[in-house]
């Protein structure tokens, strides 16, 4: 089962967007589907931009000691 959009990583969303862009530039392009696919691409790009702007890195300094 495919992941919900909010569960996907930025990397996965980027791959999905690249696939949509490739569809637009490939031989399978059909004008009838273009509007719907463009809507998807635009929504996905907005989600990625939102993620990129708001996500924070989760930095953990390990408790393990390496001096002995």
């Amino acid at each position: 089962m495919s992941k919900q959009s909010e569960q996907k990583t930025v990397s996965e969303k980027m791959d999905e967007l690249s696939a949509l862009v490739a569809w637009f530039e490939g031989d399978e392009f059909e004008l009838e589907q273009a509007l719907e696919t463009y809507g998807k691409a635009e929504k996905l790009a907005a989600e990625i931009e939102h993620d990129l702007t708001n996500l924070k890195n989760e930095i953990t300094v390990l408790k393990e000691k390496f001096d002995a």
Partner: protein, 366 residues
């Protein structure tokens, strides 16, 4: 003549007491000098003398403690415990040895570099690429170092959503290589491996950065299951750790630039991608409209041609019909004769403007 207070020992006790006195007096010492008569026995034990212009002391250590190449004539600093052996020979039991001074550091660096290069540890075929957008990275650094702070700042500026595990270790001094090796081993033994293993340290003197030319550390980096990125020192500094890593960063800041993309650049690229598909869609719509217009024009042209042809055919038909029109024949002076064409018969002669009724007087063949 010895007094009664003069201490008396067995040989073994005397050696033990002297060693105890040495331990109380000095414990561990650091001595700087030049290496002479360096040799390795049975592939396990290292013997050499450390000397200066007027003195020389025997040194002993196990081979596994020797972490950098040493040869006669090199200036070194040894960390050692002074002892008298069971045979009464004074010796330094070496705990660690490191090259001292620019010349020796360089010499040691070149010797180890040549050795590891011969083993193929620096070859390009061994280099692995890093993931374009990692989700989980491991950092080995001193969290109190300026280089680490620079790295984290730039990492946070450039990217988000990354899981970063940091192993805090010494990044200079005698214990630094072993701590970094333990951290490498720790990350490589995790059930879920990080995607990139980074070793970070800011700039420093050649002596400060000597830990990154430690042979066991360099071998541990080479053996890491996780692809490695080493960012140590300034741009001009080159360590063996840099050379053996899958990817070398010139500085800690550069390491952050390498490991993650810049979110600002990516957001710009997203806008560009969306514009690209929009242009493609608009282009396709325009193409379709042009095709429809062309087809309409073609249809209209064909319709016009057809109408012209029909009109032309109509004119021709009219001309033909006109030629066959009896009235046109009558207008040229001909007449139509109807009735019984035999002697005494009555006929009707139709001319353009009149009809004549007449009786046939005679009929002759021509």
């Amino acid at each position: 003549m010895a007094s009664d207070q003069t201490p008396k020992f067995s040989v073994s006790d005397f050696i033990a007491v002297v060693n105890q006195s040495l331990e109380y007096s000095f414990g561990t010492v650091e001595i700087e000098g030049e290496v002479a008569s360096f040799k390795v026995n049975q592939g396990k034990w290292v013997f050499f003398d450390i000397k200066d212009a007027t003195g020389s002391v025997n040194c002993f250590m196990s081979l596994f403690q020797l972490r950098v190449p040493v040869e006669d004539g090199m200036k070194v600093v040894v960390r050692a415990v002074p002892k008298i052996t069971a045979w009464g020979k004074f010796s330094l039991t070496i705990q660690s040895i490191r090259p001292s001074g620019e010349g020796s550091l360089k010499k040691s660096f070149e010797l180890l570099k040549a050795k590891l290069d011969k083993e193929g540890l620096f070859s390009l075929e061994r280099k692995r690429s890093l993931p374009e957008i990692p989700e989980h990275i491991a950092i080995i650094s001193s969290t109190s170092a300026a280089g680490y702070a620079d790295f984290i700042k730039i990492l946070n500026d450039r990217w988000g959503g990354l899981k970063v595990d940091v192993a805090h270790v010494q990044v200079q001094g005698d214990s630094a290589p072993e701590q970094m090796i333990r951290a490498i081993s720790y990350f490589n033994s995790q059930e879920i491996l990080p995607e990139v293993l980074m070793i970070i340290r800011g700039g420093g003197s050649a002596d400060d950065l000597a830990a990154f030319n430690d042979e066991p550390l360099v071998r541990a980096i080479a053996a890491s299951r996780i692809p490695t990125l080493v960012g140590v020192g300034h741009e001009v500094d080159v360590s063996l750790a840099d050379m053996v890593a899958d990817v070398r960063a010139a500085t800690p800041s550069n390491a952050a630039q390498i490991v993650v993309p810049d979110r600002g650049e990516l957001i710009k690229m997203l806008g560009h991608l969306v514009r690209r598909v929009l242009v493609r869609t608009e282009g396709a719509v325009d193409d379709n409209l042009r095709e429809v217009a062309t087809k309409l024009r073609q249809g209209l042209t064909m319709f016009d041609t057809r109408v012209d042809l029909l009109q032309s055919q109509l004119v021709t038909s009219r001309q033909v019909m006109g030629a066959y029109n009896p009235r046109a024949v009558l207008s040229r002076g001909y007449a139509i004769v109807r009735g019984e064409v035999s002697k005494g018969g009555v006929i009707r002669i139709e001319q353009q403007e009149r009809i004549i009724t007449a009786e046939v007087k005679d009929v002759e063949a021509i």
